[in-house]
């Protein structure tokens, strides 16, 4: 790719950041050029972000309707899935799945909850409920 073809598409997924890309000048000499984004990359990043946002929204509804415990929502809100949460906490996946049940979750000790709080980056108050004012 030559330096004039390096995409400068101001991708929203770059959030004003720039990435360095190696490209060649007229003499064929390779060097880095700062790129403000590429539409193609934005499409696939946005696809992944949308997929995560959908999971968060679905989780919110399931918690709200009482099917799942707030932990289920907070897992997705931290951009995690069951596998990542299990690896992060060291709990078995089936243990975590049990904690997705509102009745089981309600009986968890603060000590256990704090382990979740630590990896999810939320407080003890926050993990017990859904956040206010989001959809």
């Amino acid at each position: 790719m030559d330096i004039n073809s390096v995409p400068q598409d101001d991708s929203t997924t770059y959030a004003k950041m720039k990435k360095a890309i190696y490209a060649h000048d007229e003499d064929g000499k390779l060097q880095t050029v700062a790129s403000t984004g590429w539409d193609i990359e934005e499409i696939v990043t946005q696809q992944a972000v949308d997929d995560i946002e959908d999971s968060i929204k679905d989780a919110y509804e399931e918690v709200k309707s009482g099917e799942k415990s707030p932990l289920y929502y907070h897992m997705f809100a931290a951009r995690m899935d069951l596998l990542v949460l299990a690896q992060s906490t060291g709990f078995f996946q089936w243990t975590i799945k049990k904690h997705f049940k509102p009745t089981v979750f309600a009986k968890l000790s603060d000590k256990k909850l704090l382990e979740y709080c630590d990896v999810l980056g939320v407080s003890l108050d926050e993990i017990k409920k859904l956040p206010q004012g989001t959809k």
């Binding site: 790719m1 929203t12 997924t13 770059y14 959030a15 004003k16 950041m17 720039k18 990435k19 360095a20 890309i21 190696y22 490209a23 060649h24 064929g28 000499k29 390779l30 060097q31 880095t32 700062a34 590429w38 539409d39 193609i40 990359e41 499409i43 696939v44 990043t45 696809q47 992944a48 972000v49 997929d51 931290a78 951009r79 995690m80 899935d81 596998l83 990542v84 690896q87 992060s88 906490t89 060291g90 990896v119 980056g121």
Partner: protein, 332 residues
Amino acid sequence: MSNFEHVHHAHCESGVISSMLRHYGLNISEPMVFGLSNALNFAYIPFVKIGGMPLVAYRSIPKAIIKNIKKNLKIDMKLETFSSKKKGEDRLDELLDEGKIVGAQSSVYWLSYFPKEMRFHFNAHNLLVYDRDGDEYLISDPVFQDSVRCDKASLTKARFAKGALAPKGLLYYPVSIPQKIDLKPIIAKNIKKLSKTMLRKFVPIAGIKGMRYLAKAIKELEPKDKKYAKLFLGNIVRMQEEIGTGGAGFRFMYASFLQEASEMFDNDEVLKESSKMMLEVGDEWREFALMIAKSIKSKKEIDFRAISEKLIEISENETKVYQKMLTFKAKV
């Protein structure tokens, strides 16, 4: 450490190593680090899932650059991991107070200076801490245009994130660096080594074989759930472009290494030609990404066969580059 100079690089691990060595007087570019550590690769590993999608990698495994540079350039580099957060924090402060600059592995998700759009649970990011200011660290993150700052709590969380490729607080720094190294024999050896690795026939998931394996998997997406198929395809491109600059980006960087190598060998024609060919392959990887992004966006049926064939074509052209590289005869 006011004399530290931040440079914007294409990739985190090779960028950190290049900045680090340059700071200590060994002037070595990012592409040179990338080439000398045999960092280019390809792997499609369907049984390792990230975010529910199979792993597609366009370079060697994380930490391979650090380890290979250490080995190939015979640099005395120390790597330390920690059993507790407190120990890891204290050691970093201690090293900085000694005036050292320190490489660190971290998760991307917890780094407060990353924009939210880019924060995913990826544990193999690399950054360079060059000073501290109270409870804030001064950081040279190679993929950022300017140096950044990060609060202690966030950096610690990022360094001790758990899960796949957990950094365990990893810190690395050179103990002593030779001021002059004859790079030529190392270049010659590793160009050969990389070509052979990529052309290897008996590992189905890696190198050229890995590309063909992925091409087959793409063709088999046809009868599968459409949403899954689109996420699968998007994941290939995301790995290519998003996480750590990607397939095309890495090929451009390797082309730059070959160009630099050619200059060191009195404008060697084989290396010059290989560099050009690798650049063209990089462009093809971008065309491949374009093709996929279009099919994700479009309402029409996805032409899986065409996407698969494009990847086969790339694998054939990339094969030619490595075959060309193998004809390089070093006049050392």
